[in-house]
Amino acid sequence: MTDIAIVGAAQTPYQRCRDDANFAEMIYEVTCGALADAGLGISDIDNFITVSNDFWDGRTISSMAVQDACGSSFEGGRNVSTVEGDGTFGLLYGMMRILSGAYQTTLVVVHCKGSEGNMRQITNGMFDYIYTRPLGIEAIGAAALQARRYMDSYNITEEDFAHVSVKNRGNALRNPHAQLAAEMTVEEVMASKPIASPLKLHDLSPISDGAAAVILAHRNVADKLGRKPVWVKGIAHCSEAHFLGDRDLAEAPALRDASRRAYQMAGIKKPFAEIDVVELYDAFSYMEPLWLEELGFCPRGKGGELARLGATAFDGPVPVNPSGGVLSAHAVLVAGLARVIEAALQVRGEAGERQVEGPVEFALAHGINGPCGQSHCVVILGE
């Protein structure tokens, strides 16, 4: 349990190309949305975190280019600090700044327009320039190496992964923000265009534009605000080695560690029994079962069975990605904070058509950054 609550949130709809708005205009959209959701004015915010990536924005110090839009640049220069990485890392940093004692409220904003750069060149740029980048490998090729390693280690099949795409794209039909929503069959996923074996087109998340914002408040003020607070019950962030070959890609020890730390803070002992809904970062279909194994929802190597047997279905015992997940909308960096927002809506009981059945005592949100999930942030939310 922490002393920090989410008291406001907003996200844009996700689209392949938002040519009607620039980065700052998207940030303004979610800033206004989050303030309205919280019932607060801009002068109620005393700390700002902007999350962005210079390569995607095509400029240096991209994080400082959205200050006007999020309201941090006037009133004598309100405090602003920045993060490059997933939106969940911005959430954690925002919490830490409140817990320093210096601030009461924090607005965390994140944006990305995948449509405006070259996704493959940009993600090639995350690798080291001597040994890996000259090979031309990028996010999809690296993920394919991980998917193959995971399959071969535990006899998991491409069909197991296809069930995840079918589930999540189907769930997206209930989410007005989703970009890709469809009733699909496992056969359609299996027959989709080969991209990088074993991954096919429908195993991949789309390229998206979007933005999201969350307002955090300290316990001292959270209870006095109009909006019912959603408490951060546990949170942890861990990362692993830089070189792909240093890791056993069939495992994600950083996620294992982050989840155990977050569970301990929240007092969770049996995640499958105690967590009511999960929103995780499924940039590729194979990631959902792999991440669920490391989150302790099933034994190692059994992740492939979860979607196939319906355990993670919208009406199953632990709904996973009832929003449609990242497979249905993938504004990079934004997608982790979107998972937090979706989890918060589930705790509030305000997820609309995608609200899962029954009370939500604990909701888990998860963000990643780096190739093959190099770093992970796990967030446990509750009432």
């Binding site: 040994y131 000259p134 031309g136 990028e138 999809i140 394919a144 190496l145 998917a147 265009k193 070959g245």
Partner: protein, 158 residues
Amino acid sequence: MTTSPEEHIIYDGRIKMPYTWAAGKTSSYFLTQLRDYGRLWGTRCPDCAMVYMPPRKNCPRCVVTDTTWVELPPRGVLETFTVVHFSEPSLQPMEPPYIYGIVRLDGADTGLTHLVSEIEPNRLRSGMRMEAAFKKLEQRRGEITDLLYFRPEGGGRQ
């Protein structure tokens, strides 16, 4: 005030940013040995005995710096692979379909990500033995691509 029809202007730009990256002492030794002799060197940690490929100045686990050089044979095991089908000519070293793999050289504890060739994609299996193919001496430039690719041990086929 005059009016204009609504239009979304898209501004075309390009950033071209040259860099000269220092490889550092450890990688410089690795790259010159690769260029001049076609040899592959890893580093061994004096504390945990882990052998790293690519080599590191310090052991990332123990964070000690007195690592020692270990020559590794140009052979090892394919840990995972992918056949790339999509096309990105600005980036890719050859026309797709082509193959990436992670090969753990004999005696190393970590794998090297690289290209795989001289094999039909449907014959690829994790765990198969691979050997390194190098560029000819006069074509080597002190780059990781002086190691051309890995192929099945004992010679592959085109």
